[in-house]
């Protein structure tokens, strides 16, 4: 059994008639049944649906029709995406009482139209409010690179399912870092597109001002394949700014790209391995230029307040009626968020606009900025505190120290995994990633650079040891 499937290669084999989608699905279902208990990535396996979708792909091919560019590719989604007929849990016990979704989320529809086969729903932090996926109701998600380690979150199951080779492509959401943090801790590729690029319809929102959706994959070609399939016009998501499909490719071409390393906020607040990862990428590219993203720490503070307020407002009816049913990891933050003075939140939204204006000016001079994705490798599950810059601080919120300032202003980011983390000195050789950050709508530049880094061998998904 091939443990790590390439989605692009698999689709090519199925389209060429060398493999059947039905056979691939059975193989994946058996593998998930055998190994999911190690990671707790899947919270629901949609076997009947997967078999039906695979059969439909095989039938189309037999009839001479084109099943799409992701023909027969097994996929799964964070359990905040609607899957028709299933209750959307969003990591919450409370949502078990909700009716099943009437339709698939928009992006799930896009995957299906591309020929992908849906295998199920994946673990996450409750209501996406966390960076660790230590879910009290559904159990912690375990990192394939050390089962006692956090997966990262909130899209922990999405990252783990790919890192562990259960499926080659998954979807997650990123409000403050929830794609980039688990991608970094699990050593895979993750894309947070520009805010407003992809429709969020049919996903359980968290803080709508910052909610993004995006894919995870083990290589750049698969990330591009998924991202291209996900693009589509949806006037029902009022945050979407439709620009037409802007396809990307995994062609390694960086001629003309001006690249710099983020300093200041992004050169402190973390452990040595976070900075070593950025330097390894910069060295491979011959990049020495440094830039300061102005007011990044203030932007993070603004994101913190807006997230608290928007998340709490969304859940206020349940906070009033059944606060005790929330995960203890989210409950008190939601309760506090419901009580913030309006001035704090409005000031944060005004600061956000001013911070954005300053940050965007940087892109007059550079095309891509390199920054750490996480301040350290995956902490142990249950670990509360960590020492950073000589101070003991809470380990969980600090995981987003480098991602929050970027999603606050909606910039597109690829989280790129360091290929050989042991060589840059990460503790126990655990994975870590780097953020490749571009101006709004410049995802194509990020893919060009990501493919180049993959070609150089500096970035790639490291294989878990066991």
């Amino acid at each position: 059994m091939r443990r790590f499937l390439s989605a692009a290669a698999l689709a090519a084999e199925i389209r060429a008639g060398r493999r059947k989608a039905a056979e691939v699905v059975e193989e994946r279902l058996a593998d998930i049944a055998q190994r999911n208990a190690l990671s707790n990535a899947f919270t629901e396996v949609t076997a009947a649906r997967a078999r039906a979708e695979a059969a439909a792909v095989d039938a189309k091919l037999a009839a001479g029709q084109d099943p799409g560019p992701m023909a027969g590719v097994p996929v799964a989604v964070k359990n905040l995406f609607d899957l028709a007929g299933l209750t959307t849990l969003a990591g919450a016990k409370i949502e078990r009482d909700s009716p099943p979704a009437a339709a698939d989320a928009f992006l799930v529809q896009r995957l299906r139209q591309a020929g992908a086969v849906m295998l199920g729903a994946l673990n996450m932090d409750e209501y996406a409010y966390g960076f660790t996926t230590e879910n009290e109701h559904y159990g912690p998600c375990r990192n394939p690179h050390g089962r006692e380690r956090m997966a990262g979150g909130s899209s922990g199951g999405s990252a783990v399912a790919v890192a562990d080779g259960l499926v080659p492509v998954t979807l997650g959401s990123d409000t403050n870092g929830s794609i980039r943090v688990p991608a970094s801790l699990c050593g895979i590729w993750g894309l947070k597109p520009t805010y407003g690029r992809l429709s969020r319809r049919g996903s359980f929102l968290f803080a709508a001002s910052f909610d993004h959706l995006g894919p995870f994959a083990r290589d750049v070609a698969d990330l591009a394949l998924a991202y291209n399939a996900l693009q589509g016009d949806d006037p029902q998501d009022h945050a979407q700014q439709w620009r037409g499909v802007e396809p990307v490719s995994a062609v390694a071409e960086i001629a003309g790209l001006r690249i710099a390393v983020a300093d200041d906020h992004f050169a402190r607040n973390g452990h040595a391995e976070a900075f070593a990862a950025v330097e390894a990428v910069a060295r491979a590219l011959g990049v020495t230029r440094r830039v300061t993203i102005p007011d990044a720490a203030l932007g993070r503070a603004a994101a913190f307040l807006i997230t608290m307020a928007e998340g709490a407002n969304l859940h206020l009816p349940n906070l009033r009626r059944r606060a005790g049913d929330f995960d203890r990891a989210t409950r008190d933050r939601f309760l506090a968020g419901a009580l913030l003075p309006a001035h704090w939140v409005q000031q944060a939204q005004r600061l956000r606009a001013a911070y954005q204006a300053k940050a965007l000016r940087l892109f007059d001079e550079v095309d891509v900025i390199l920054a750490p994705a996480t301040p350290y490798v995956a902490p142990r599950i249950g670990q509360d505190m960590i020492e950073v810059d000589g101070q003991s601080i809470p380990v969980r919120p600090n995981l987003g120290v480098y991602t929050q300032p970027i999603s606050c202003i909606g910039l597109p980011v690829i989280a790129a995994p360091i290929a050989e983390p042991a060589r840059i000195g990460t503790p126990e050789g655990l994975p870590i990633g780097v953020q490749l950050i571009a101006a709004p709508w410049k995802e194509a530049s990020l893919f060009r650079l990501a493919a180049h880094l993959e070609k150089l061998g500096v970035c790639a998904a490291p294989e878990p040891k066991a």
């Binding site: 001002s209 608290m308 009033r320 704090w344 409005q346 956000r352």
Partner: protein, 66 residues
């Protein structure tokens, strides 16, 4: 100016928004409010003029494909 007392504030603000607060949850709520106050102090540092608007912009409508 009296110092911000997150526990006392939580009790009053919760009453204002009709949010029953279990006394067992109050210490955690107060801790998170104290953290939010520190974030708010950072945000207050920004020198914003009256012309600087909030980030969200209301869109009256959008047609498919545009």
């Amino acid at each position: 100016m009296p110092e911000f007392d997150p526990a006392a504030y939580a009790a009053q603000a919760a009453a204002a928004v009709g949010l029953p607060l279990d006394p067992a949850h109050l210490p955690g709520v107060a801790m998170n409010l104290a953290l939010a106050a520190r974030m708010a102090a950072l945000v207050e540092k920004a020198a914003l003029g009256p012309a600087e608007e909030a980030a969200p912009v209301f869109v009256a409508g959008r047609e498919a494909g545009k």
